[in-house]
C-alpha cells in the first residue's frame, strides 16, 4: 500500500524584478507537496541580498503541480515571508478555479469585483459579494481598485472531501518615496516632449 505524500499549504510573499527593472511585490497561496515546499522554505539567500525574517531566494522553482503555475514566484525571486497554513499528512487540495481581479465598487454590506482567469479574458466575470465573504481584517481593505484573489477547489482530509471557496485581498505594499520619485521622473520624461495645443 502506498502512503499519500504529505502536503503543506503555504502563504508566500515574494518580490521579483519585472521587465523594466522595477521591483514587484506580490503574494500567493500555494498547496505544495512537502518536498516542493522545502525548496522554497530552505533555499539559500543570494549573496548580497539583505536577509529579512523568513527570507529566502527561490533558486529552484517548485513544481506548480496543483494549478498555480501563473502565480508561482519566478526563479531568482526573493521570498520575503512564508507562512505554513496547514501541514498534515493525508491532506491534499485540488484547485478547480483561480480568479484574480480588483474591486470595482464598495457598498455598505457588499462589494463588486471584476475577475479574470487570464489577463486576456474578454468578456470577464463581474460578481457582487457579501462583505461577510471576506475575513474581518480584509473587509476594510475592500475599496475600489483593491486587488483580490478567489480560489475554488476541493480540500481533502483523509477520506473526507470539502468544496472550498477562498476570497482574499492581495496586500500590495504602500508606495515608497524612492519609487514615487522614480515614477515622477519617468512620467516627466514621457510627457516633456509632448506639446499640447
Amino acid at each position: 500500500m502506498t502512503e499519500s505524500p504529505s502536503t503543506l499549504s503555504v502563504s508566500l510573499k515574494w518580490s521579483a524584478k519585472d521587465e523594466q527593472k522595477d521591483e514587484l511585490l506580490t503574494s500567493g497561496f500555494f498547496h505544495l507537496q512537502e518536498e516542493e515546499a522545502r525548496v522554497v522554505l530552505r533555499s539559500p539567500v543570494e549573496k548580497g541580498e539583505s536577509v529579512r525574517e523568513g527570507g529566502a531566494v527561490v533558486t529552484s522553482l517548485p513544481a506548480p503541480s496543483l494549478g498555480e503555475k501563473s502565480s508561482a514566484p519566478a526563479k531568482g525571486s526573493s521570498v520575503l515571508q512564508t507562512r505554513v497554513l496547514r501541514s498534515q499528512a493525508n491532506q491534499r487540495y485540488i484547485l478547480l478555479k483561480k480568479y484574480e481581479g480588483f474591486v470595482t465598487a464598495r457598498g455598505e454590506d457588499s462589494f463588486s469585483a471584476r475577475l479574470f482567469e487570464n489577463n486576456s479574458d474578454y468578456p470577464v466575470v463581474e460578481a457582487e459579494f457579501d462583505l461577510e465573504e471576506l475575513s474581518e481584517t480584509d473587509r476594510e481593505l475592500a475599496i475600489e481598485g483593491a486587488p483580490l484573489v478567489w480560489t475554488i477547489g476541493y480540500a481533502y482530509e483523509g477520506s473526507t472531501r470539502k468544496r472550498e471557496s477562498l476570497i482574499y485581498l492581495r496586500r500590495l505594499p504602500a508606495w515608497s518615496d524612492k519609487e514615487l520619485e522614480k515614477g515622477r521622473a519617468a512620467a516627466n520624461d514621457l510627457t516633456r516632449a509632448i506639446h499640447w495645443e
Binding site: L96, F102, A127, D130, L180, L190
Partner: protein, 384 residues
Amino acid sequence: MPSTGNSLTVGPGSRELEVSVFGPGFGECIALHLGGGNWAIIDSCLDATSKQPASLHYLTSIGANPATSIQLVVATHWHDDHMDGISKVFQTAVGAIFACTGAVQQAAFNEVLAAWTGTRLLPGGSGVDELQSILAELDKRSANSSCVAPKLAGVGRALWPIAGKPNPFGISIKCLSPSDSARLATISRLKDVAPASNKIRRRLPNPLANDTSVVLSVEAAGHRILLGGDLHVKADRSLGWLAIVDDHAGVDARHHAFKLPHHGSPTGDSAEVWSKMAVEQTCAITTPFVRGSVRLPSVADCQRILSKTQNAYLSAPPLPGKFRDSNKAVERTVQEATRSVQFVPGKYGHVRLRKLLDEKPGTPWGVELFGSAVSMADYVRTTS
C-alpha cells in the same frame, strides 16, 4: 436618399454623413464620417466577436484603411474603463490628431500617472495603461515635425477643421465641455487620488467623475450632432450639462442627433438640454451599462427618453451575459458565494445613422441596427 444597402459592410457615400455608435464594451465608441472617406473616432471599446477595437474592426469591414482614413481620435474620459483599445486605434492611425481633456496637462496628473505605472501588472491593468500608451506614441511622434500637436479639449475649443487636413464636408467639431470650473474640480480630485508613501497600492479608481467628460457639437451644412460623452447634470450650474445650456443661451443651435450621456440614466438627463440643445424628435442613441444589479438605461429611463423622442435607439439591451462554467462544481460554488455574477460586457451592437449632406437638416436619418441594437420603443414593449 440615404444608402439603402442595409449591409454592415457598405461604407457611406462620399457626400454622406454617418454617425456610428458601438457598444457596450468597457466603454463605447463613436465613428463619425468627416467626408471623402475620412473619419473621426471618439472613445473606444472592443468589438464583441473580433475583440479588436470596434472602430478598427468596422472601418476595415467597410473597406477603409484605418491607418490613413482616421484623422482625429478623441478620448472623452481617460480612465481605461471608458476607452478600451483607444491606444491601439491611435497607434494604427498614423496621421491622426489626438485630443482629450485638459486634465492631462496638470502636474497632479503626472503624479498619478507616475505612481500607477508600477501597478500595470495587476490583473485588469492599472487604470491608466491606455493613456500611458497614447502618451508614449505622442512622445514618439513629437520627433516628427510634420505631426500636428495633440489638442486639449475644453469649452469653446474647435477640434476640427485643422489646417492641412481634408474637410470636404466643411465639418466643424467643437467642444462644449469640460468647463473651466470642471477643470478646477478635476485638479482637486487628482490631488485626492495622488499617491503618497503611506497609501496602499491598488488599481487606479476613476477619480475624475463625469463632469469632466468632453462633449462635442458637430455641424456640417446645417446638420448638427451632439455627442454627450458621459457628462452629468449638476446642481451647480457652472458644471455639467447646465453649464453648456447657459453657454448656449440665445443661440439656436439645436441638434438633429444626440448620443445620450451616461447610458440614458437620470443623472445625465435634463429637460433644459432636450428643449434647448435638441430638435423635437431628435434621433437619440445610447449604449447600455451593467454592473451588479444596476442596469442602464432602466425601462423607466427608456420611457422618459421616449417621452422626448420616439426616435430613440439602444446599441444593445442592458443585459449581462449569463455566467456559466464547464465545471458544474465551480458554477455551483460561484453562484453560492455571490449575490450576483455575470459576464460583462453582455450583448453588443451598433447603431448607424446616415444622411446625405445635401438633404435639408430636418430630414430624418436613415437608421440601421446591427448585432443586438434595438429601438428603445421595441425594447420597452418586449420588456414590459
